[in-house]
């Protein structure tokens, strides 16, 4: 049973304060540092488990760090507070990155990360809300997070809560038809409290997205579906903070975060084979040096 780690919550608050009150440079620096720590943690977890999805973990890291340490109105000491911002990692295979972010935010003791994918660990290869505080819904099969996020955004409105709902989908995941049902729905209901972040690393498991089932012009498609579209460098924390600002009008917001799969480690970056390849001990040592 994972429970709040109060020491870690205090550390999270310190970072959060800097993001909220510090200078732009200080803000960018602390978020970059959290991203570095998450990437190092992911490396260790995958090395230990001998399994995981390192490429996608690294492409989404800066988005997760920015959301948890700079944007989401949450209290990791009270994961079930009825009024809270919600986050769903629809690309659930990047659980290592999410677990690290949740642990560093204080949802549970980071020591538990050592059990990732071990026998009977709560930290399954894909996130489980019943076992992991901070996880809002179980993900793993692709194309599920966005419809659930639409329901959460509608629910918040019906209950009169000013909660915002964030969901991260992989770009390859946007090939799932259920996402396009949900895109229509969110626009129809004018869910300005909903933000979809697309981790646009341009690679899917087997090939480049554009060679498999082309998504471009993605921004135009999202705009045509009635969304307010923002396109940013998904590794620029300052740009991400700006992109995660509330909707300008009544439309839901789609942030296309242009990222590099495997970002942060030179030999892993933008290579299709690193979707779920496990680094050797030597490669881990090399990677840790790059992330020092």
């Amino acid at each position: 049973m994972l429970v709040t780690d109060s020491q870690q919550v205090s550390a999270w608050r310190v970072v959060r304060d800097v993001v909220e009150t510090g200078s732009p440079a200080e803000r960018a620096a602390v978020l970059a540092e959290q991203s570095r720590l998450i990437r190092r943690s992911v490396l260790a977890m995958i090395g230990r488990a001998q399994a995981g999805h390192i490429g996608g973990d690294f492409s989404v890291t800066d988005v997760l760090a920015t959301l948890y340490f700079g944007v989401l109105r949450i209290d990791p000491a009270r994961p079930d507070a009825p009024v809270r911002d919600r986050f769903i990692l629809s690309k659930g295979h990047c659980a290592a990155s999410l677990y690290s972010t949740l642990a560093f935010s204080g949802y549970f003791d980071p020591a538990a990360l050592d059990t990732f994918m071990g026998p009977h660990s709560p930290l399954n290869g894909h996130p489980n809300r019943v076992k992991v505080p901070g996880v809002e819904t179980n993900t793993g099969p692709l194309g599920h997070g966005l419809p659930v996020a639409v329901g959460e955004a509608l629910g918040a409105r019906l209950l009169g809560h000013d909660s915002r709902v964030f969901v991260v989908c992989g770009d390859g995941e946007m090939q799932e038809g259920s996402n396009w049902e949900a895109l229509m729905s969110a626009a129809h209901y004018r869910l300005a409290n909903l933000t979809l972040v697309i981790d646009r690393n341009r690679l899917q498991q087997g090939d480049r997205t554009e060679e498999t089932n082309a998504l471009d012009p993605l921004a135009d498609k999202l705009a045509a579906f009635g969304w307010e579209v923002r396109e940013v460098d998904g590794h620029d924390h300052t740009a991400l903070l700006a992109a995660f600002a509330p909707a300008a009008g009544t439309r839901p917001v789609a942030v296309i975060a242009n990222t590099i799969k495997g970002r942060g480690v030179s030999f892993i970056e933008d290579r299709v084979e690193w979707h779920h390849k496990v680094p050797s001990p030597d490669q881990i040592a090399l990677a840790l040096k790059e992330l020092a």
């Binding site: 919600r86 099969p141 419809p147 639409v150 329901g151 949900a182 229509m184």
Partner: protein
């Protein structure tokens, strides 16, 4: 219920009771909402929409999104009744039912409207006869198959008060009352509809009145049949099944494919304990030909005389 009574009894479309009770629940608890797939009419939600326009979420013809939205509403703290014709709710959105609702343990009430072969001539695409097989494979999902309007009302009331995910089959094919309004629908229990020790007939939904009539036919031959109303398929009433295994034979009858529904569950339970009697499972084993619901029930041997014949055969008398 005798055959003669069955022929003259008043019959009811369970959707009316469903709609009435849902409105009552919505009046009592503002967290109750309805979600549907362009099925406001066929899910009998017109009156609900009139009274609670903001609490009826019609996502259009998009069942995967519909079930995901239901899970999200539950996650936000609401009590969503997700309503769609059975085949599309359970077939098209099966992975959403599995991952977003049941595995995620979100309090969603899945309402499979017009189940079984209620859509008769529209054919197998519109028949919901695989739902029980598919859903029984999901641990933690309550599966309710009300036999009449009273049980339908109670199923809705209980689901609204229970935090577990639930699937309710909401019948369209008209059925007579087989319970009284005051009879309690107990979670995980078969209801004893008729006492008897020679053979046990276990019916679900539309088949309960027919198994009662079959028991009447058997009584004329001096065979006393126990009749169980399997309103809950999950959790399964293992105790009642073990007791039924003490009678001379068991016959199950359901408007569903026999590969994994009630009959399979009963047979598995009896076989697991060993030394049990013959178990005959009546239901579908093929896609239906073109025909009305009445004709198809007859075609698949789901009538009182056919159930009685199966019991006689099982008893080898």
């Amino acid at each position: 219920m005798t055959l003669a009574e069955a022929a003259t009894a008043a019959t009811y479309d369970n959707r009316a009771a469903f709609a009435d009770e849902l409105i009552e629940r919505a009046r009592a608890d503002e967290r109750v909402v309805a979600v549907c797939n362009d099925s406001v009419g066929s899910s009998n939600l017109v009156a609900f929409r009139q009274e609670f326009p903001d609490r009826l979420i019609n996502v259009g013809i998009a069942e995967q999104n519909m079930v995901g939205v239901g899970a999200g509403l539950a996650a936000a703290g609401l009590i969503p009744f997700v309503c769609a014709a059975g085949p599309f709710l359970t077939g098209r959105a099966l992975e959403q039912v599995k991952a977003d609702v049941v595995y995620s343990a979100h309090n969603v009430i899945l309402c499979g409207m017009s189940p079984g072969m209620a859509y008769g001539e529209l054919g197998p695409t519109h028949h919901s006869v695989e739902d029980l097989s598919w859903l029984r494979a999901l641990p933690g999902l309550d599966i309710v198959v009300p036999a009449d309007r009273h049980q339908t009302r109670q199923a809705v009331r209980q689901a609204a008060a229970d935090p577990r995910p639930t699937y309710i089959r909401v019948g369209r094919y008209k059925v007579p009352d087989v319970t009284a309004p005051g009879d309690r629908l107990e979670r995980g229990r078969f209801q004893l509809a008729r006492e008897g020790a020679d053979v046990t007939l276990i019916g679900a939904g539309t088949l309960v009145s027919r198994t009662l009539a079959a028991a009447d036919l058997l009584a004329a031959d001096g065979i006393e049949a126990r009749v169980l109303n399997a309103a809950y398929i999950a959790p399964l009433d293992v105790e009642a099944i073990r007791a039924a295994a003490q009678t001379g034979a068991i016959v199950t009858a359901e408007e569903a494919n026999i590969s994994g529904g009630l009959g399979a569950a009963v047979a598995l339970t009896v076989a697991a304990q060993g030394g049990g009697p013959v178990v005959r499972t009546l239901g579908l084993s093929d896609f239906a030909p073109t025909g009305s619901t009445d004709m198809l029930l007859e075609y698949f041997g789901l009538t009182a005389p056919a159930i009685a014949a199966a019991a006689r055969e099982a008893l080898a008398v």
